[in-house]
C-alpha cells in the first residue's frame, strides 16, 4: 500500500492510531481540579 511494505503501514499507522485513541480517552475521562 502506498508503495510501502505492509509491516511499515501496520507499525507506523498502528502506533499512530493507538496514540489517538489514548488521547481521546484522556479527553473523555479527564475531570480537572482547580
Amino acid at each position: 500500500m502506498f508503495g510501502l511494505p505492509d509491516i511499515t503501514v501496520l507499525a507506523v499507522g498502528g502506533v499512530t492510531i493507538v496514540c489517538v485513541i489514548l488521547l481521546l480517552y484522556w479527553g473523555l475521562t479527564f475531570r480537572g481540579h482547580d
Partner: protein, 507 residues
C-alpha cells in the same frame, strides 16, 4: 537570491514580531507577568505556544534532513515529538498547574525546591542544569536560523546570526512570556498553514506519495522499512529514541514551564489530542518532504550544497525548485523562521527566569525587589542571546544531532526528579540531588562519547545499540531509588501540599 519582495516580506514579519513585543511590554507590571504571563493563557494560545515551543529548527530543517538521510525508519520522530506535548500536559501539567496556583510557583524549580524541601541545593543544581541544556538547545536553534538567512540572502553567517538574534531578543526582552506566547500563536499558525500548503507541492513535484516511496525503495529497500536491520534505528534503538523524544521534550525546562501559565486546568482536557493531531500531521508532511527531496536529488533536479550538513538544506532546495515563483520563497522562508524563532524566544526567556528568579531572587538575594528581578531577567535574555550567537558561529555537522543531544541531556537530568517527585512519596531530597547530578554528568559523558565516536576500553561508543540518553536515564533511576531508600523522607505535610502520589488528579 534576495529580491525586494523577499526583503519586504521578511521585514514585515520581523516588524509584526517587534510590534507584539511593544504591545506585550505594556501588560508587564510584575515578574509574574513577565515570566508566566500572569497565568492568563487561554486554550488556543496555550496549545499553539506548546506547538511553537516544541516545533523547533529541527522540526523543519532537521526532520526533513533526517528523512532524506534515513527514510521511514525515522518516521517515529513524527509520532513521539507531538506526543511529548500530551505527555507533558498529562503527566506533569495537571498536577504542577494545580499545585502552582496554590503555591505561587513562577518556575518548575519552585516546585522541586518545595517538594524536596531543598530551597538551595536542588533549586540551584536544577537551574544550572536547565541553563546548560537550554544553551545547548539554543545553539541548535540559532544554527537553523543562520541556515535559512544565509540561503535566502546569501549573506555571511555572522550577519545572519546577528539579524536573527536582534529581532528575537528585542521582542522577548521587552514583552516576556506575553510576547513569546502571542508571537508563538502567530508563528504556529504561519508554520502549520505553511507546511500544509508547502509540503504537498514538494511531494507532488517529486511524483506523489506512492511514487516517492517506490523510488526510495529502489535506492535502498531499508528506507521504506519501519526500522533498520543494524546500526541506528534498529527496533531497540527506536524504543529508546521514542522515550528520549517523548519524555525528554516533555520535561525540558522551556516546555514544562508553559503549564504554569495556563488560565484554567480544564484546557488540559483536549489540548493533548488537539496538539497531537495538528502537529503530528505537520510533522508527517515535513518528513515526507525530505523523502521527496531525496527523489529529486536522485533525478538530478538539484544538488545539495557541498557542506557537511547538506541534508539540513533539503527542504529549502525542495521549496526553491518546486516553486518557481520568487515571491513565494520569502513566504516559506518566513515559515521556517517562525519555527525556529518560536522555540528560540521561549528558551531565552526560560534561561532568564532560571537566572533571575531561581538563582538571584531565591538564593543569592531573597530581599531583591520585584523591579530588580525583572530587570535582571531582561539582562539575562540579552546576554543569553548574544552568548549563544557566538557559540553558533561554528555550527555542528548535523543540526538534528546537536538538538537530540540537548533533548537527551534534558531527559537524563530532569525526567526522574519530576516523575518521582510527582508520583512517588518515597522520593527524597538526596535521591533527587543524586539523580539529577548523575543524570546530567553521565548524559554529557555518554553524549560526547557517542557524538565523537570515541573508543574506550575497546568499545566504540559511536556504535551504542540504544540512544545514548537511555544509559544515563537508567543511572538516574537507580540513583533516585537507592539514595531515597537510605535518606531522610520528605515530611507528610509537604507531600500532601504538593499532591504527591500515584494519581494524576487528586482523588
Amino acid at each position: 537570491m534576495a529580491d525586494y519582495v523577499t526583503i519586504a516580506v521578511i521585514a514585515i514579519y520581523f516588524l509584526v514580531l517587534l510590534g507584539i513585543g511593544v504591545w506585550a511590554s505594556k501588560k508587564i507590571k510584575t515578574t509574574e507577568d513577565y515570566l508566566v504571563a500572569g497565568r492568563s493563557l487561554g486554550f488556543w494560545v496555550f496549545v499553539l505556544l506548546m506547538i511553537g515551543t516544541v516545533c523547533s529548527g529541527m522540526s523543519l530543517l532537521g526532520v526533513s534532513g533526517l528523512g532524506y538521510r534515513a527514510g521511514w525508519p525515522t518516521m517515529w520522530e513524527e509520532i513521539f515529538v507531538p506526543l511529548a506535548i500530551g505527555f507533558c500536559i498529562i503527566f506533569f501539567g495537571v498536577k504542577l498547574h494545580n499545585v502552582a496556583k496554590n503555591s505561587g510557583y513562577i518556575t518548575v524549580q519552585d516546585y522541586l525546591a518545595h517538594r524536596y524541601e531543598s530551597p538551595t541545593a536542588l533549586r540551584s543544581l536544577s537551574a544550572v542544569a536547565g541553563i546548560i541544556v537550554s544553551l545547548i538547545y539554543l545553539v541548535g536553534q540559532y544554527s537553523a536560523i543562520a541556515i535559512v538567512l544565509m540561503w535566502l540572502f546569501a549573506i555571511p553567517l555572522w550577519l545572519a546570526l546577528l539579524i536573527a538574534t536582534l529581532v528575537t531578543m528585542i521582542y522577548t526582552t521587552i514583552g516576556g512570556l506575553y510576547a513569546v506566547a502571542w508571537a508563538s500563536l502567530i508563528q504556529s499558525i504561519i508554520l502549520i498553514v505553511g507546511i500544509f500548503i508547502m509540503a504537498p507541492i514538494i511531494i507532488y513535484y517529486a511524483g506523489g506519495f506512492t511514487h516517492v516511496n517506490e523510488v526510495i525503495a529502489t535506492i535502498n529497500p531499508n528506507l521504506v522499512m519501519p526500522w533498520m536491520p543494524s546500526g541506528a534505528f534498529t527496533p531497540a534503538y527506536v524504543v529508546s529514541f521514542a522515550i528520549m523524544l517523548m519524555v525528554g521534550l516533555a520535561c525540558a525546562p522551556h516546555v514544562i514551564n508553559n503549564v504554569l501559565a495556563v488560565k484554567d486546568v480544564k484546557y488540559f482536557k483536549w489540548a493533548p489530542l488537539v496538539a497531537f493531531l495538528i502537529y503530528g500531521a505537520a510533522m508527517y508532511l515535513l518528513k515526507f518532504t525530505g523523502l521527496a527531496g531525496l527523489v529529486m536529488v536522485k533525478a538530478g533536479v538539484f544538488t545539495l550544497p557541498a557542506v557537511s550538513n547538506a541534508s539540513d538544506f533539503i527542504i529549502l532546495y525542495g521549496i526553491q525548485y518546486s516553486l518557481p515563483i520568487l515571491a513565494l520563497w520569502a513566504v516559506f522562508a518566513v515559515i521556517v523562521l517562525a519555527a525556529v524563532m518560536s522555540t528560540t524566544d521561549r528558551l531565552m526567556l526560560t534561561i532568564g527566569a532560571m537566572c533571575s528568579w531561581d538563582l538571584y531572587k531565591k538564593i543569592i538575594r531573597p530581599n531583591a525587589s520585584d523591579k530588580s528581578v525583572l530587570l535582571l531577567s531582561k539582562i539575562v535574555v540579552i546576554l543569553s542571546a548574544f552568548g549563544t550567537m557566538i557559540l553558533s558561529i561554528n555550527p555542528p555537522d548535523a543540526l538534528a544531532s546537536l538538538i537530540w543531544m540537548g533533548i537527551g541531556i534534558m531527559l537524563a537530568t530532569f525526567a526522574v526528579p519530576f516523575l518521582a517527585g510527582l508520583y512517588w512519596r518515597g522520593a527524597t531530597r538526596d535521591g533527587a540531588l543524586a539523580s539529577m547530578f548523575l543524570g546530567l554528568v553521565s548524559s554529557v559523558v555518554f553524549g560526547a562519547l557517542n557524538y565523537f565516536n570515541i573508543t574506550l576500553f575497546n568499545y566504540n561508543y559511536g556504535d551504542l545499540p540504544l540512544h545514548f540518553s537511555f544509559y544515563p536515564l537508567v543511572i538516574a533511576v537507580v540513583a533516585m531509588y537507592v539514595v531515597s531508600m537510605f535518606t531522610q523522607k520528605t515530611s507528610e505535610k509537604i507531600l500532601d501540599e504538593t499532591q504527591t502520589g500515584w494519581y494524576i488528579s487528586k482523588p
